[in-house]
C-alpha cells in the first residue's frame, strides 16, 4: 500500500512540487536578512540558534499538507480506482494507514531536505550554529504541526470524496484561524485559550541568559518549543498585554506592559505537542471512520 502511494506521489510530481515550495520558503527566510542588510547598511546579527529554531511557519505547514494529502483519499473516489483497490485483500484500515504512512515519509523527506538547507544556509548567513543535535527534534515538531492539516485534509477528503471540497474547506479553516486569532489576541491579549486552537497560539516572552526569546504557544510552534524546552527546561514564559493605564485629564498616557500570567517552558512545549496530537488523532479518526463506512457507489 505504501509503495502504491509513494509511486503516485513521485509520478504525480507531488514530491517535487513540495520540494520547490520548501526551497522557496527557506530561500526567502535566508535571503531576507542579507537583502535588508544591504538596504539599511546594518550588519547581520549572528544567530547561533537559527537552524534549531527554524520553522516552515503556519502557511508552510498548510501548503505542505495541501500538496501531500489534498487528494490522497478523495481522488481514489473521483477516479474510480477505489473500486479495484478495496476489493483486494487489504482492509480499509490498512489502506488508510498506508496512505498516512506514505504522507509521513514524504513530509519527513521534504523536511530533511529543508532543514539540511536551513543548516547550511544558516551557517552561511548567520555564522556558526550551535545545538545542531536538536535539529531532528525541530524537524519532527514541524512534521507534527503539518500533520494537523494533513489530518484535516484527509478527513474532509474522506467525508466529501471530493478534492475541491476538501481543499476549500481546509483553506477556509486555515484562513479563518489565520485572520481570527490575531484579532482575538489583539483585543483579549494572549489568552490561554489560544494555545488550544491550531495555529500560532498566544505570544509570550522568555528571558534567557543571552537575551529574550519570543515564544508562541500554539501548534505551529511545536518544533521550536521542544527545542526551547530542552535548552531552557526551567525557563519562565511571561504573557503580557499593553496597558494604557488610567486616563487622567491633562496627563500623558504612558502605556506599560502588564504581565497577565507566566508559564513554564516545558509546560508550553508539552502542551503544544499534546494539543497537536489531539487534533491529529481526532481528524485522523474522522477520516478513518469515513473511509471505513464509505459505500462505493461509483
Amino acid at each position: 500500500m505504501v509503495r502504491y502511494e509513494m509511486i503516485w506521489n513521485i509520478r504525480k510530481k507531488k514530491f517535487l512540487g513540495i520540494l520547490i515550495v520548501a526551497f522557496v520558503f527557506a530561500t526567502l527566510g535566508l535571503a531576507l536578512p542579507p537583502v535588508l542588510s544591504s538596504v539599511t547598511g546594518q550588519a547581520i546579527t549572528s544567530d547561533p540558534n537559527f537552524a534549531v529554531t527554524f520553522s516552515a511557519g503556519g502557511l508552510g505547514f498548510f501548503l505542505f499538507a495541501l500538496a501531500t494529502a489534498m487528494n490522497s483519499i478523495s481522488s481514489e473516489f473521483e477516479s474510480g480506482t477505489i473500486v479495484p483497490l478495496l476489493t483486494k485483500p487489504v482492509s480499509r484500515t490498512m489502506v488508510f494507514l498506508g496512505k498516512l504512512f506514505a504522507a509521513f515519509i514524504m513530509l519527513l523527506l521534504v523536511y530533511t531536505v529543508l532543514f539540511s538547507y536551513a543548516v547550511i544556509g544558516g551557517i552561511a548567513v548567520y555564522g556558526p550554529q550551535s545545538n545542531l543535535y536538536l535539529v531532528p527534534l525541530t524537524l519532527l515538531g514541524n512534521v507534527l504541526s503539518t500533520f494537523i492539516w494533513v489530518a484535516i485534509l484527509l478527513a474532509m477528503g474522506a467525508l466529501s470524496k471530493n478534492t475541491l471540497v476538501a481543499a476549500l474547506v481546509a483553506l477556509g479553516v486555515f484562513l479563518a484561524l489565520f485572520m481570527a486569532l490575531p484579532i482575538v489576541s489583539l483585543f483579549a491579549g494572549p489568552s490561554p485559550a489560544l494555545s488550544y486552537v491550531p495555529g500560532g497560539g498566544a505570544s509570550g516572552v522568555m528571558n534567557v541568559t543571552d537575551g529574550t526569546r519570543s515564544i508562541a504557544t500554539g501548534t505551529d510552534g511545536v518544533g521550536v518549543n521542544l527545542v526551547n524546552a530542552v535548552l531552557y527546561p526551567a525557563g519562565a514564559v511571561s504573557f503580557s498585554k499593553i496597558n494604557l493605564g488610567a486616563m487622567q485629564p491633562g496627563q500623558t498616557i504612558v502605556p506599560f506592559q502588564e504581565v497577565l500570567y507566566t508559564e513554564n517552558m516545558s509546560l508550553v512545549a508539552w502542551r503544544s505537542v499534546g494539543v497537536a496530537f489531539l487534533y491529529v488523532f481526532v481528524f485522523l479518526f474522522i477520516a478513518w471512520y469515513a473511509l471505513k463506512r464509505a459505500q462505493i457507489l461509483e
Binding site: R11, T87, K88, P89, I296
Partner: protein, 320 residues
C-alpha cells in the same frame, strides 16, 4: 456441496428505489454462471455487495462458504473481481499494477515473477506491460482488469460486464478467456446484458429485473422450460396440401400454419426433430429450400420474462 455465492433475501435500497429485492442467488462451484438483466436491473449492485463494496439493507451473503459482512480482507483472498469499466491508477505501468496488487494478495516476489508474465500473455498485453495505464485503450484496460482478477489464482472470479466497450474481436477474445478460466477449475460469475455472450459461455444463468430474480437454473433448463413451444420454420418449393397434411401427421407436431411457400411447424417436444420433418416433406414430393428453428434460445426467454415483469426499468416502490 458448498456454493460459490449464496445470497439469502438480499436487499439493497437507494432512498425509495429498491435496487435489489430479497434476492436468493445460488452460484454452483465450478460453473460459469451468467447474471443477466437489462441495464439498471441490479446486477452491479448485487456484485458490489458480494465483493464488500456496498452494505446490504437486508439479507445475508456467503462467498465460498464465508459470510460477507464488514471489512474482511481475508474473505477477498480467494476471490478475483473485475469491475464494470475498470479504472486503474493511470500513473502505474501495467506490470507495476499487477505487481502491487500481487503484493496485496500476499504473493511472494517469486510467485509474482512467475504469475504476472503468464497473465500478461494470457490477456495479450505482454508487448505493452511497461506502458502507463493512462495510455491504454478501453479494451486494454478491460484486459488488464481481467489479468488483475486472476492474479491470486482465485477460486471464484467475478466479472462485471467484461465485454462492455469492446469491439467484436475483443468480445470474442473475452468469451474465449472466460472459457479458459473455467477450464482451470475456477468458478466464473459473469454479469452481462448481452444475451448471446451468456448463451455462448455459461453453464448456468440467473435473470434479474428491477432487483427481482426472475429465474435461475442451468442454461439448458432456462432455455427449454420457459420459452413455450418450439417451432420449425420451413421454406418449401412445390408446396402442396399433401405435404402440409403429411407434416401434421407427425406425432410431435401440434399445428402447422402455411404462409405462401413457408410453413410454421409448432412442436410439442424440444428434441431436435428437423430430420424427421425434413424426411416427411421430401417423401411427399416437397423440396426444402430453407429450414430454421424458433423459440428455443435465451433471448426469447429473456424477453418473455422481462415483458411479463413489466419492462426493464428499475423498481420504484409505490408510496403508501
Amino acid at each position: 456441496m458448498e456454493l460459490a455465492i449464496e445470497t439469502d433475501a438480499l436487499t439493497k435500497k437507494y432512498g425509495s428505489l429498491t435496487a435489489v429485492n430479497k434476492l436468493n442467488l445460488k452460484v454452483q462451484r465450478n460453473s460459469i454462471h451468467g447474471f443477466l438483466g437489462p441495464n439498471g436491473a441490479g446486477k452491479t449492485t448485487t456484485i458490489k455487495i458480494v465483493v464488500g463494496l456496498l452494505k446490504p439493507d437486508g439479507g445475508n451473503v456467503k462467498v465460498l462458504g464465508q459470510p460477507v459482512h464488514g471489512d474482511q480482507a481475508d474473505s477477498r483472498l480467494r476471490v478475483g473481481y473485475m469491475p464494470e469499466l475498470p479504472k486503474f491508477p493511470k500513473h502505474l505501468k501495467g506490470r507495476e499494477l499487477l505487481d502491487i496488487y500481487g503484493q496485496m494478495y500476499g504473493l511472494t516476489k517469486q510467485q509474482r515473477q512467475e504469475q504476472i508474465p503468464k497473465l500478461l500473455d494470457l490477456v495479450g498485453l505482454k508487448e505493452r506491460e511497461n506502458d502507463l495505464i493512462g495510455k491504454y485503450s478501453k479494451g486494454m484496460q478491460q484486459r488488464i482488469g481481467i489479468a488483475q482478477a486472476l492474479l491470486n489464482s482465485p477460486e471464484l472470479v467475478i466479472l462485471d460486464e467484461p465485454s462492455l466497450g469492446l469491439d467484436p474481436v475483443g468480445m470474442v477474445e473475452v468469451r474465449e478467456l472466460v472459457k479458459a478460466i473455467a477450464k482451470e477449475g475456477m468458478t466464473v460469475f459473469v454479469s452481462s446484458h448481452l444475451l448471446f455472450e451468456v448463451e455462448q459461455v455459461c453453464t448456468h444463468v440467473t435473470i434479474i429485473n428491477r432487483g427481482n430474480m426472475l429465474v435461475s437454473d442451468t442454461l439448458q433448463s432456462v432455455s427449454s422450460m420457459l420459452s413455450g413451444p418450439a417451432a420449425i420454420l420451413v421454406e418449401v418449393a412445390k408446396l402442396s396440401t399433401a405435404v402440409v397434411n403429411a407434416v401434421k401427421t407427425l406425432p410431435f407436431v401440434s399445428s402447422v400454419t402455411q404462409d405462401g411457400d413457408k410453413l410454421t411447424v409448432r412442436l410439442t417436444t424440444r428434441e431436435d426433430v428437423r430430420a424427421e420433418v425434413s424426411q416427411q416433406i421430401t417423401s411427399t414430393g416437397g423440396t426444402i429450400v430453407g429450414m430454421s428453428t424458433q423459440g428455443s434460445n435465451l433471448e426469447e426467454v429473456f424477453l418473455q420474462l422481462i415483458t411479463k415483469d413489466g419492462g426493464g426499468k428499475p423498481q420504484s416502490p409505490t408510496k403508501p
